[in-house]
Symmetry: C2
Subunit: 365 residues, 2 copies
């Protein structure tokens, strides 16, 4: 087991990465909560197989354990589910010293973390990350949120977990498409910060897709380490450093929005977005053209899409969604663009005509 | 105009105390928000007289000003009103750089501050405190909350304002009973931390009740200064220092709860609670008996109640509510008790029989 440290204004916390950690959850949580504390384990029905070893371990440690199941999918991130969880905490008499354990991916940790941040003005919670995406991204950094009818993640908080547990073994049962989509974010970490990680992905595509546990553990450690360093130095997204995590996301959100969040999952849209980012960087003379091909080769090796041709999307439809981006500054879109593998830059003054050209090159009508 | 400084993890902020500050609100807010920022002014109908000079001043400064009115009274602190405000912010296109201005007492700042803490994961807000209680207590320190059917302030956050504006002039139109009730909290500050303040209250009861602006300004400055120092050193109520602000509140909450939050307003219950606290301290030999009488004399000079005789409350009913206190630690009630004027201590191991005796002495059946 390896440990990554994260700094936060609410206290530092650890990310534990290793094989077979779930049955030891009770031991790890005894460093966070007093013995006999109440713990609300929050999860989703499709994750039941992971729950049993965790619940057994927590009970063995002497915690008073309750479970609370959220509906499957993104609809768990609603006002209704937020207050249903809070009412359960109240009904079970949870106090400030008690806590929650989010067992799942980003949906579960976003909702649980948000409830934790506002219940009695804040209690602690632990993320047990059961997807690759959660292990390298959403479980780390304390961004919590619910969705509103008007859009995703519009209400939330920065509320860091007290501990993150990433058991590599859970990835063995991850659906193939979800594994691939999460790998887009891993490629992103390589592109923005880490030539070693990118080189490893270039050489070990097959091992990773075959879910070799040592290969998965290595890319999780390197990716989670990058995320940990970025959020440690820019906890509240105020200093610009967290911005680099958006590589591929400005175009990606445009594509997702134009598709009304169907057909492509987030990681797939990010893969295409990174291709568009690399193309834009090359057109601007910021990076060598060769980088486009190296990035494409890695993405294709993970069975990720690299263009939007098959969706017959209108260029203007994508552009319109992009212009609504909440990270826009003074009406201008900001793009994270590669300089070389492992290094990015933020560019703001991109002519709209060039953005349109890039979308068309990627297959926009 | 005088300035008090408060430290917080989200950045330090100022409390401005003076006469006729409302018409200068725009100037003060230009230190907090970029020119041209959108500002949502949140208030209640009964506060309309204060709104006009503020709105005029903000508009003159170039801010894009919207207003949002909450229903009167405590029912503004609801889930429904929270999300209604958030939907308004969304509909008007508020971004992270924009902000809110809470014009009112604790109800308005609690709801506005909570909405500010979760909208887009946090925007800034300013408190314009229009009651004495807000000026010396609720506008300072960043505690925000809404109520649930199960109880008050059960969901909320610690989210400090970016600025607090306390215009002494607004107190001239404050209802008499509200002025008296707020003075209970001022007496509390004297009792827990400030012999100078307590002495001033002993000598100037009449001037204060007659709303002499210089006298009011003095007690606001001293009281807000104490609150500012306490919350600066214990922002998240984790170090025990914020605890001393609860002098009179453990008994007070018991009385309020047993009366189902009718008949007595909060400050009146706190006045009786302080009398019970002083009695308990004297019985324990912690403070001289003379302190009871000095405190009673000041409270009576402000027309505050000092016993519960006229309510015919059962001792056990009060005790039962007290035992549900969320600041309880390991099943034991903690009492803030006076040692002498200006100094308190926290006592935990008080026999239940003694608590019962104190309630009976104050008029419990």
């Amino acid at each position: 087991m390896k440990t990554i440290h994260v700094r936060s204004s609410k206290g530092d916390y650890k990310i534990l990465v290793g094989k077979n950690l779930l049955p030891r959850a009770g031991t790890f949580l005894s460093d966070v909560f007093e013995s006999q504390s109440k713990l609300m384990v929050v999860s989703q029905k499709n994750l039941t197989p992971y729950l049993n070893p965790i619940l057994a371990s927590l009970k063995k440690q002497g915690f008073k354990v309750q479970t609370h199941m959220l509906p499957d999918g993104e609809r768990a991130k609603s006002e209704k589910e937020l207050f249903r969880l809070i009412q359960t905490l109240l009904a079970k008499g949870f106090e400030r010293k008690d806590g929650m354990v989010a067992v799942g991916g980003g949906v579960v940790s976003d909702l649980t973390g948000f409830a934790a941040s506002v219940y009695l003005r804040g209690i602690r919670y632990v993320n047990v990350a059961t997807t690759l995406l959660a292990q390298v991204d959403s479980a780390i950094g304390g961004k919590t949120a619910i969705d509103l009818p008007e859009g995703k993640n519009l209400v939330g908080s920065f509320w860091p977990p007290a501990l993150v547990i990433s058991d590599v073994r859970v990835l063995q049962s991850l659906p193939e498409r979800e594994l691939s989509a999460s790998l887009a974010e891993v490629v992103k970490y390589g592109m923005i910060r880490d030539t070693e990680l990118f080189g490893f992905l270039e050489k070990n595509g097959r091992r990773i897709l075959q879910r070799d546990l040592n290969a998965l553990e290595k890319i999780i450690l390197l990716s989670a380490g990058i995320k940990a360093r970025v959020v440690s130095s820019d906890e509240f997204e105020t200093k610009g450093e967290r911005m680099i995590l958006n590589y591929g996301h400005t175009f990606g959100h445009g594509i997702e929005g134009a598709l009304c969040y169907g057909k492509l999952v987030h990681g797939e849209a990010v893969a295409i977005g990174m291709m568009m980012g690399a193309q834009l960087a090359a057109d601007l003379g910021i990076c060598p053209r060769e980088l486009i091909w190296r990035q494409m080769k890695v993405l294709l090796s993970f069975k990720l899409p690299v263009s939007i041709k098959r969706f017959h999307l209108k260029t203007e439809a994508i552009l319109k969604v992009m212009m609504k981006d909440k990270k826009k500054s003074q009406g201008l879109l900001r793009f994270v663009l590669p300089r070389r593998i492992g290094q990015v830059t933020v560019e703001q003054k991109i002519p709209v005509s060039l953005i349109q050209k890039i979308i068309r090159l990627a297959g926009g009508k």
